[in-house]
């Protein structure tokens, strides 16, 4: 079997189809031996790719945009989309069934570190709903990803932006309540995608193809099965997590159509994503879709499997 070094940005239920592919043996059936490691940060995952310590990385496309924009030659190219919605949620201290973004006015929100995808999405969503970040609403961007949930639990802020499974855990404890989903508010974005460096793709097109095939099969499988069934399959990857939380989280992500139905990353989605980054002031000029995205493998996978 061909060995593929895969680096995921974080280890999260947000990437459920990937674990489905692993545990259902889809990669293996394609003749790939996938070595999964976790980078704990998009920057680190992309760096692993760039410094040839990983073949394929699962990250948001923004590192590939940054890297190309800053002039790297052998830059990463996104070849398969995994999620199509933002994965973070907004939690309040009390249930707010009638929550509107307007309710944030004058309040304190714990966000995420500047320049990262979660923060940029939140700022974009707020701005386009008439709430100017840092003016109408205070956002705390000083905390590490690992510290924001405990800080909120400990009394900091009125709202917090969290990923799963933290959101569900806070809810279970009664310490926070999901009042909005940035996945829903943000619309369809290529939130995470598989990418590999230009040279690697050129040298190993068959590996990329097999990999994409497996991902697509997993996406379909995930789409076709219930949260409970999915949870059972991916359980080995989340052995520390309580079963009820796992099911709840899968259900929540599935419910808002988080996972792309196929690996094709469309131009409009990327455009939208680049708008978000530009508004966050981290991008001066849009990067050409054709340069950092290659949908050839995804299209082939869809075609093959049909």
């Amino acid at each position: 079997a061909t060995e593929v070094r895969l680096n995921e940005v974080v280890h999260s239920i947000f990437y459920t189809p990937q674990y489905v592919a692993l545990h259902k043996g889809f990669f293996k059936q394609e003749g790939l031996k996938v070595e999964l490691s976790t980078a704990w940060g998009g920057d680190k995952a992309a760096t692993a790719l760039m410094s040839d310590h990983a073949d394929i990385a699962l990250i948001g496309p923004e590192p590939s945009i940054y890297i190309y924009q800053r002039g790297a030659d052998n830059h990463p190219i996104n070849f398969a989309q995994l999620t199509q919605k933002a994965g973070s949620f907004l939690l309040a201290r009390e249930p707010m069934p009638d929550f509107m973004l307007e309710d944030l006015r004058g309040k304190k929100v714990i966000g995420n570190r500047p320049g990262g995808a979660p923060e940029m999405v939140m700022e974009y969503v707020l701005r386009h709903n008439g709430i100017e970040p840092f003016e109408d609403v205070q956002i705390n961007t000083s905390l590490d990803f690992s510290a924001n949930a405990p800080a909120f639990k400990n009394g900091l802020g009125d709202f917090v932006q969290l990923f799963e499974p933290k959101a569900s855990k806070l809810e279970k404890m009664g310490a926070g309540y999901v009042v909005a989903s940035f996945g829903e508010l943000g619309g369809k974005v290529p939130y995470t995608a598989y990418m590999a460096c230009k040279d690697y793709i050129a040298d190993n097109p068959e590996v990329i193809q097999k990999f994409t095939n497996a991902v697509y099969r997993a996406q379909k499988w995930t789409y076709d099965h219930s949260a409970k069934e999915i949870a059972e399959v991916i359980k080995p990857s989340f052995s520390e997590l309580e079963d009820d939380i796992l099911v709840k989280v899968v259900k929540r992500y599935k419910g808002q159509n988080t996972w792309a139905h196929n690996p094709i990353l469309s131009k409009s989605e990327l455009d939208y994503w680049q708008d978000i980054i530009m508004e966050a002031d981290e991008l001066d000029k849009k990067v050409d879709y054709e340069v950092i995205v290659d949908t050839k493998f995804a299209e082939e996978a869809v075609k093959n499997t049909e």
Partner: protein, 282 residues
């Protein structure tokens, strides 16, 4: 003889055991009572900390979810022991630490020896070593990952980076300060530089070398954990990061506690080795 008196007599006998005279017995009794009081207090403090923590968590004086609590930690350890997870993570960390330690110790010793050998080289590299020594190495973590990748090698590299410079500096200073008269003695016996190194400088500095190793093992562990924070799939550092990611602070606390025990054990491992090897000291 009343029950009470009998107990007193037995106690007294135990407290004055091995005494050579009555006065010595009194002294021993005093010292042993003191020792007992110290140990009792230590246990009490430990118990107070643990029980206080447990109660504070129970009555929500501290947030049990954030700080976890002793019974929960024990439960976590128990559960993770059952499925072998715990042992796996501990082993990964120990393994990486030991490799980093061995490389750091060997490399540091070799480099220190070379610097001792050539005064010229040591003078040339002195400022570079000072800078490397002062450098906050974990800040280099992200850069290191670029060079060494995102696997075990990067983690061991981090452990090595953090530990080797200290070893070089401590051992080289020891070598340099070897008593000149001991060296003179060997020279008068016709020894060449290599013999002087092997027969005086090295054995004379074994205590210094072990001093460096004791620092080294702790730093290797720190380096491994920092490395695992940055990039990993297993190990106690991974558990801490992962626990933070999934908001499972029991896991974080459990790992931190196991980590401190591990740190103590590794230290004593080196101290034990030292005792085995330096067996001529009184």
């Amino acid at each position: 003889m009343s029950m009470f008196e009998r107990i007193k007599a037995v106690l007294n006998k135990y407290l004055t055991k091995d005494s050579v005279t009555d006065e010595h017995g009194k002294y021993l009794k005093k010292m042993r009572l003191r020792k007992i009081s110290i140990n009792t207090l230590q246990i009490l403090i430990l118990a107070a900390l643990i029980i206080g923590w447990q109660l504070a968590a129970k009555y929500k004086i501290v947030d049990p979810f954030i700080t976890s609590y002793p019974s929960q930690i024990i439960k976590t350890i128990y559960e993770m022991s059952l499925n072998g997870e715990l042992f796996k993570h501990i082993w990964v960390t120990v393994y990486e630490t030991l490799i980093g330690f061995l490389l750091g110790a060997t490399g540091g010793l070799v480099i220190a020896s070379i610097l001792w050998w050539s005064d010229y080289l040591s003078q040339i590299f002195e400022p570079f070593i000072i800078v490397l020594n002062a450098l906050p190495k974990m800040a280099l973590g992200p850069v290191l990952i670029i060079w060494l990748g995102n696997g075990t090698i990067a983690i061991i590299g981090m452990a090595l980076l953090i530990s080797i410079i200290v070893t070089i500096v401590m051992v080289y200073n020891g070598f340099k300060e070897t008593d000149q008269n001991k060296i003179k003695l060997l020279r008068t016996l016709g020894a060449d530089k290599f013999q002087i190194f092997k027969k005086v400088v090295l054995p004379d500095n074994l205590p210094t070398i072990f001093g460096a190793l004791k620092v080294n093992i702790g730093l290797s562990l720190v380096g491994t954990i920092v490395g695992e924070f940055l990039v990993s799939e297993a190990g106690l550092g991974y558990l801490i990061v992962y626990g933070g990611q999934v908001f499972k602070l029991d896991l974080v606390m459990t790992s931190v506690i196991i980590l401190s025990v591990l740190a103590g054990l590794l230290y004593y491992l080196v101290a034990w080795l030292e005792k085995k090897i330096i067996n001529w000291e009184e």
